[in-house]
Amino acid sequence: MSLPKKKLLQAYRQMKTIREFEERAHAEIMNGQIAGFTHLYTGQEANAVGVCEHLNDEDTIISTHRGHGHCIAKGADVIGMMKELFGSSEGLCKGKGGSMHVADIEKGILGANGIVAGGPPISVGAALAARIRKNKRVAVSFSGDGSVNQGTCFEAMNLAVVLNVPAVFVIENNYYSEHTNIEYAVGCDDLKTRTEGFGFPVFVADGADFFSVFDAAGKAIDHARAGNGPAGVFAETGRFHGHFVGDPQHYRADGELDDLREHSCCLKRFREKMAESGEVSQEELDSIDAGVLALIEQSVAEAKAAARPTPEQVGNDVYISYGTG
């Protein structure tokens, strides 16, 4: 598979943006600047980007509690997102959603989602709309290895097959749902087979490798876009942080995190591949890095300076207020 250079640079930039967004968010949370529950995507960047690089603005994604990466990959405004995390009224959701509810409908981002497996049924709806309108859009939902045990996820998969809609189910297996390993939580031996049992093809990817994900996602998305019904992507991946910021990670093996950062870093892997193939120079990548760091720095500076919401805003964006209280 060979990609035009522009695409390569774009993919790397997206992954790097996610990485730096997350690492900075982590720092700001530790600083006490960001409130609430935040789940970081560091380590899984290639999954979001490998999928979203196939999508256009009219296609939709729906994300999870661990949503920053998916949103950035699908084109959400990074500064608006950082402002949202900081709870500013200038944030993407005016400070009402926060980390778990970043959304941008215009960009086809139907939202991060605080309810595990809340997204897949909704994504099937977006896919159904595409089928009805025959507009060749696809609808992608992201799920974790834990989320696939929730009833709504199964229902969505079956319904997508029944209705033959262009829904793509991306399962990111980072081996843990909170503190529990997939070995325990998924009863069967092989999640890919269980998923395929629902009646659609599932393409496997190495989630640390952009090209592997891009390839698998391409097959799934082409399948769906061509009107053949739903398809799946199953990516093995790893998160570099805890489930949430502050997680003591008792579940990890000794050295597991070091190992992950060493061997499963999609940025390193990308650089290695580029060094091998010579398609993109390390300097070009360095200059992307610098640009990304500047953007993230700017996003935090702007977020800190941004307007804070005022109490009256509590009652906006809902259809009615009652006089009680």
């Binding site: 009402k96 959603g97 959304a103 309810i115 049924p121 909704i122 099937v124 009805i132 229902e155 079956n158």
Partner: protein, 335 residues
Amino acid sequence: MSEKTMRDAINEALHQAMAEDESVFIIGEDVAGCNGAPSGKVGEVGGVFGVTSGIYKEFGPDRCIDTPISESAIVGAAAGAALVGMRPVAEIMFADFIGVCMDQIVNQMGKFRYMFGGKSKCPAVIRFASGGGFSAAGQHSQSMYQVMTAFPGLKVVIPANAYDAKGLLLQAIKDDDPVLFFEPKALYQEVCEVPDEMYTIPFGEAAFLREGDDVTVVAFGQMVNRAVAAIDALESEGVSCDLIDPRTSSPLDEGAILESVEATGRLVVVDESPPRCGLTADIAALAADRAFHSLKAPVKQVCAPHSPTPFSPELEAAYIPSVERIQSTIKQLLA
């Protein structure tokens, strides 16, 4: 204009809305019917209550969509399609089945607009058959609209006659917020005059069904007819009542209720749900706060007891508020 059952009025509203607006479609279990069946008679059913009958035949498989028994996926599908600009009308058969799809209604559909900073629209309608009267027992008789009223972001509609059902449903389909539309199943066969044309009834505007001086009666859904009967029977005894059917429990026409209570000084609220945290309490509390100084007597709630709906016809008859109970409660206030 002609007499129509509530079932037919709703069916007509669906037909007309779908003819007018390509983005409207219906989805649910057996809303077409016979899919995959050896008879080949797809579309012959139109929902277990027959409310969507004929729609498949008129609008075809892209706009009348049968589903597996997967209520969360049905609501989710409606929500997702609505987020990208469609106007789905989903059917969830019995309101009790909210139990298996509550998250998609309450935490998803109902919260997008707010959580996304007002930047999304989710114009989905979910229809339910609600309430008792069929000896359908504990899992097929609940009204549920009171529980959904508790959740911000959802509009909650409870038509009490065929005319309102049509106008409110057409409004619901046009509305840019998610609307839960509860059809008291005991009323499907009830008839009244219903215009053949399209018309809408705005949300948050109560209907005044009787005017009187002594007591304000507020009733919902299936209870409205019973309240009418109770009030009319009391006329001969010289008792006259205001009867208000809010039609939408959220948004609620607080003004109409308060104004009436300010005039009569007495309030009876009637609903078929159990007493705790329901609409009878909700409206009683509204009056106790904002019409307090006009109140001349205790605010009374007529509702079901705090138990699930029993199966046996005799028990169910004792469970659902009767005309007599409404009547005697009104009289009690005047004693």
